[in-house]
């Protein structure tokens, strides 16, 4: 496998047993992602988008083939090693935000740093930086229930970036947001990608998200049918131009 790639999959196949039959969620997927990519997996429901994110995020293992993420072979990792990889290097953003309701915005964002065992002063500084990024520093002491959907998703972004991961996996991050909030958070993520160099991989069928992607990978029935790269990021600057 090539060492300059953040993610590299070779003949990645995921099979789910369905009684007497087998369901191929992914079929011999060969993909690679370099540092700083802003890519999305698009396709209809059941095309394998989430399964791909699951495996790349070390939440699941491939049935066949090889997957290397940040130099680690996913199929060989123990549960503990997989958790360690997620804890240190991978951030997640979910469709439903999944904030911890009893904790404040600050504490929600702080939690990944507590898992990393960082000292209190450093945690405070990094949490405030992350909240500045998502323009929620003034809501640090609010509870999730006091925030709008868009603000909740911005907190989720702050929680994902606070540990400065190499990779953020976002599964339908705008599905629960209106158009304005969707554009807001996409602009924030695009800016994080450009200025901090964090790699974002989305699973989406939201046209608004697709409009921001630098790379669009289309999955149909578990196979990659199209892999397009754009020279510009239209959500930021204009329309896509496939190459």
């Amino acid at each position: 496998m090539e060492n300059n790639q953040l993610i590299l999959t070779q003949k990645l196949t995921k099979i789910y047993p369905m009684g007497q039959h087998q369901l191929y969620a992914l079929k011999e997927v060969d993909l690679s992602f370099g540092p700083g990519e802003f890519a999305g997996l698009v396709g209809p429901s059941g095309s394998g988008k989430t399964t791909f994110l699951n495996i790349v995020g070390s939440l699941d293992v491939p049935s066949q083939g090889q997957v290397e993420v940040l130099g680690r072979r996913i199929e060989t990792l123990t549960h503990k090693e997989a958790a360690e990889l997620r804890k240190k290097h991978i951030g997640f953003i979910f469709q439903t935000f999944n904030l911890l309701p009893v904790y404040t915005v600050f504490e929600n964002v702080e939690f990944p740093l507590i898992l990393l065992g960082l000292p209190s002063s450093e945690r405070r500084q990094r949490v405030m930086e992350a909240l500045e990024w998502v323009r929620l520093a003034d809501r640090a002491n609010s509870r999730p229930a006091q925030l709008s959907g868009g603000e909740c998703q911005r907190v989720a972004i702050a929680r994902a970036i606070v540990k400065k991961p190499a990779l953020i996996l976002a599964d339908e991050p705008t599905a629960n947001l209106d158009a304005e909030n969707s554009h807001n958070i996409l602009q924030i993520m695009a800016r994080l990608n450009q200025e901090l160099g964090i790699t974002f991989i989305f699973a989406t069928h939201d046209e608004k998200v697709i409009g921001y992607l630098k790379r669009k990978i289309t999955l149909v029935d578990g196979r990659v049918t199209k892999d397009e790269t754009y020279s510009s990021q239209p959500g930021m600057e204009g329309h896509h131009e496939a190459s």
């Binding site: 699951n54 699941d60 549960h79 503990k80 958790a83 439903t96 999944n98 904790y103 702080e110 898992l115």
Partner: protein
Amino acid sequence: MIKFLLKGILRDRSRSLLPFLTISCGVMLTVVLYSWMKGAEANIAESSARFDYGHLKIMTRAYAEEAELIPNDLALVGVSELMAKVAKDFPQIEWTPRIKFGGLLDLPDEKGETLVQAPISGLAVNLLNPPSPEKDILNLENALVRGRLPQEAGEALLSEELAQRLGIQPGNVATIISQTMSGSLALANLRFVGTIHFGIQALDAQAILIDLADAQRILDMEDACGEILGFFKDRIFRPKVAAAMTKQFNTSFSQDADRFAPIMKNLLDQGGLADLLGMAQNVSSTIIFVFVLAMSIVLWNAGLMGNIRRHGEIGVRLAMGEDKGHLYRSLISESFIIGCLGSAVGTLIGLGLAYYLQVKGINVASLMENSSIFISEVMRARITWFGTVVGFIPGFAATLIGSSLSGLSVYRRQTSGLMKELEA
């Protein structure tokens, strides 16, 4: 991390309040019941020691075999010499001779004819000899209801209940009819100068209390007594020390085949008290076990409910890279904190109630009618050092069992399904 968990617990009442209340209630009940049982044990042991068994008791072997019959014809003789020996051999013990006797009390009318008669249970102790510990042991100052304590020979006390029944007033003279040590009739007039109430049904029904020297004179028991009782000077019974003394004393007379040779018994050797106290301890242990079991089931259930409610949170934490072991330990830590707080609060409330029961007690006289056990009619709890920590046993055990079982669901969670679950 602990601070973070603590914040979550304090803010999320549903995951803290129910377990907290469960543990607090269980611990409180455990502390109160344990203290109550200890109070009952102490009541039986202390009352029996004070009025009948002593911490140690010396009798003749023959007397010991028939002790319930109060066989004064088998009493110890040469008591002065024996008292001197045990005072020298066991200086940490206060020794006091006693004579128990039965008989009739005859109250005459103004013509000297029998007005009323009643059976009595007599106890003779050293009342007039100043170094005697009996006033303290029998707590006579507090037991006195009317009149005064005897101050000279020929004066006696009788129970208030008996005095009421017979119509005896302080200052009245009545005749005791009993049997001497040699089996002949014993008659003596005594002036009853006061009435007493020990709060023990077995004594208060028909007790009279006279000075030892009077009893020795009336019953022809010069330098003799039925029993010599020994008490630790601080009045705290020490079973192991008492057993060692008993063994030492009895060994020193082991070569003497005489059935009138003295024999020592300690408190637990008498009246099946060891079995009774053992049973009380078993009951205490059973109570604690039942509470641990019941609280564990409640906490297990609460934990399962909590895990269902926190399904999303646990999923997010696993997705963020928290190790399952770490997550499991944190769930147990949360329960541990709840267990600590619940146990502490439950213990404080329990000790408060136990203290109230220790000071005020509950009068169970109506349940003790015709009782022959030396047990106070006012049952009190007793706070012991172990009673202050005993609640932590069910508090922690239930917490650990409950959370350990419910937390296992973390290990059954498949990370591969997290994405879908978290978007549900």
